[in-house]
């Protein structure tokens, strides 16, 4: 029993450097910045008026305590401030904290503010949210709880911070690794349940369905014999990810394949923000230490170091 406990502790709290945290901070900072800039012209129209009120009313059926932009709009209305001004301020703050995360200024505050503001926007715009928002919430949630600042941040240089507990750093990295493993397993499992991923029709449909139809179907149809191969490859890559990404011998190839798949989704379907968030999460969780495989084994054995 003691041995199991020791092994479990060793698995959950492996000593780790903060390189992964720097990758996560900079990556999510870039993501938040690009997200804000990409929506600058449509931010107010997507998040204001009746659609906001309906989405927030439906959210209240789930919980009254989930952050939403309506809280600020209602408070500002009492001061005579218009909804559009509040939404613009929220957008500007989100852009600012995104940039703050990239350089590592007030890292903890920036991470909490980015998580909070993005969550408000994602929940208020419930009808116009998609998977990317979900993954950005997950990433920012773990980032704000992780031991910031990392040694690559401006905070570290300005404040001459003390090194963080390697085991605590390792714990939050492990949490992210486990979460990603579950995500890919269930994503692959549900794809395997559909006939379309085995015969390739789902790949074809995904690529020609508006608004993902970036590539001309006339070009795509010439490659139709590859769709079943691509469908089976994607399904198997995802469902086997939790088994092979943990093994030092196969981790590199699985990580490269997963990232290549997301680059492919970004390029062929125009979902570049979705691709970026998935690559950031994967590289932060499994990337650092990959080049030095002799030290990079992940196992249940205690005191094994991931560098």
């Amino acid at each position: 029993m003691q041995s199991v406990k020791t092994r479990l502790f060793g698995f959950l709290f492996p000593p780790s450097t903060d390189t992964w945290l720097a990758v996560l901070r900079v990556g999510l900072g870039l993501q938040v910045t690009i997200y804000s800039l990409s929506l600058r012209s449509d931010w107010i129209s997507l998040l204001s008026g009746t659609a906001r009120k309906v989405a927030e009313a439906l959210l209240s059926l789930e919980s009254h305590f989930v952050p939403r932009l309506g809280w600020f709009v209602a408070s500002a209305a009492q001061l005579g401030i218009h909804e559009e001004a509040v939404l613009f301020l929220a957008w500007a703050c989100l852009l600012a904290v995104g940039c703050g995360l990239v350089v590592g200024v007030a890292s903890r505050f920036s991470a909490i503010a980015a998580w909070f503001l993005h969550l408000c926007a994602a929940k208020t715009g419930g009808f116009v949210s998609y998977g990317m928002d979900n993954f950005l919430t997950i990433g920012l949630f773990y980032l704000m709880l992780s031991p910031l600042p990392d040694r690559y941040s401006l905070d570290w240089r300005l404040r001459k911070s003390q090194p963080k507990d390697p085991q605590l750093l390792g714990f939050w990295r492990r949490v992210l690794q486990l979460h990603l493993s579950i995500i890919y397993f269930f994503s692959g499992l549900t794809k395997c349940l559909g006939a379309g991923w085995w015969n390739g029709s789902s790949v074809w449909r995904a690529l020609i369905r508006p608004p993902f139809n970036i590539v001309d179907p006339e070009i795509l149809v010439r490659w139709k014999y590859l769709f079943p191969v691509a469908g089976i490859f994607i399904s198997l890559l995802e469902i086997t990810c939790p088994f092979f990404i943990w093994n030092s011998k196969t981790r590199k190839i699985w990580l490269i394949c997963i990232c290549a798949m997301h680059v492919g989704i970004g390029v062929t379907m125009g979902m570049y923000l979705f691709a970026l968030i998935m690559i950031v999460l994967n590289v932060a969780a499994f990337g650092p230490g990959l080049m030095r495989t002799e030290h990079a084994r992940i196992s249940f054995r205690p005191h094994e170091i991931i560098l």
Binding site: Y35, S38, L39, S41, D42, S45, L46, G49, T50, A51, V54, L61, E62, S63, H64, F65, P67, L119, G125, F127, V128, S129, Y130, G131, N134, F135, I138, F141, V175, L178, H179, I182, I183, Y184, F186, S187, L189, T190, K191, L193, G194, A195, G196, W197, G200, S201, S202, W204, R205, A206, I208, R209, P210, P211, P217, L220, V221, K224, G270, L273
Partner: protein, 191 residues
């Protein structure tokens, strides 16, 4: 606790996928999944009244952590999309057609998600409110319009073979809503 929740909600959504089908699994699994999904949802407090504090506390945490849903994107099959067309009628009898428009591709992805929500919701009142919201934004851009008819259709995508034979994406009429300046409730036509 965090991982139990992630696993439980992922399992629940996978069971829901099997229960709603179609999947490659035999019908037996469909019936089993329906019962298992109901039981798991009840265990997770999702069958409690919305005002129940336990359910509300759990839902709050799930939303804050971003783990309230499973991860079956584009699975088990890629669903059909929806298209909304606005027919703008001017006082002089002129008729123009408009699609919901946004400034960027990033916002375009979000509008596609909104159209999916409009097409899939089983609640007529919610569908009408969301269509009206989009109609209002079109109206703001064309203030001299007398009335707007919003036509919602579901798309039918050709297979690769059908595409090669010349068949293209087609739409099946679902609903039409008539909005006029007097702010009266929309007249709805169903398929």
């Amino acid at each position: 606790m965090q991982f139990l929740l992630i696993l439980s909600f992922s399992c629940r959504d996978t069971l829901r996928v099997v229960a709603e089908g179609p999947t490659i699994l035999p019908v037996f699994f469909k019936n089993f999944s329906q019962k298992a999904e109901t039981a798991l949802s009840a265990t997770l407090g999702q069958k409690l009244p919305a005002s129940n504090p336990v359910r509300e506390a759990l839902n709050t945490y799930l939303q804050l952590a971003g783990i309230e849903a499973g991860y079956g994107y584009f699975a088990p099959n890629v669903p059909a999309g929806y298209r909304l067309v606005f027919e703008l009628q001017y006082p002089d009898g002129r008729v123009e057609y408009e699609l919901p428009s946004v400034s960027s591709a990033a916002a375009g992805l979000r509008i596609a998600g909104l159209l999916d929500s409009i097409g899939r919701t089983p609640y007529d009142a919610l569908r009408e409110i969301l269509v009206r919201t989009l109609a209002q934004s079109v109206w703001r851009e064309h203030p001299d319009v007398e009335s707007v008819r919003a036509i919602l259709g579901s798309s039918r995508l050709p297979t690769a073979r059908e595409f090669k034979e010349g068949k293209r994406e087609s739409y099946e009429f679902l609903y039409a809503y008539d909005f006029s300046l007097d702010n009266a409730p929309a007249k709805t036509n169903h398929h």
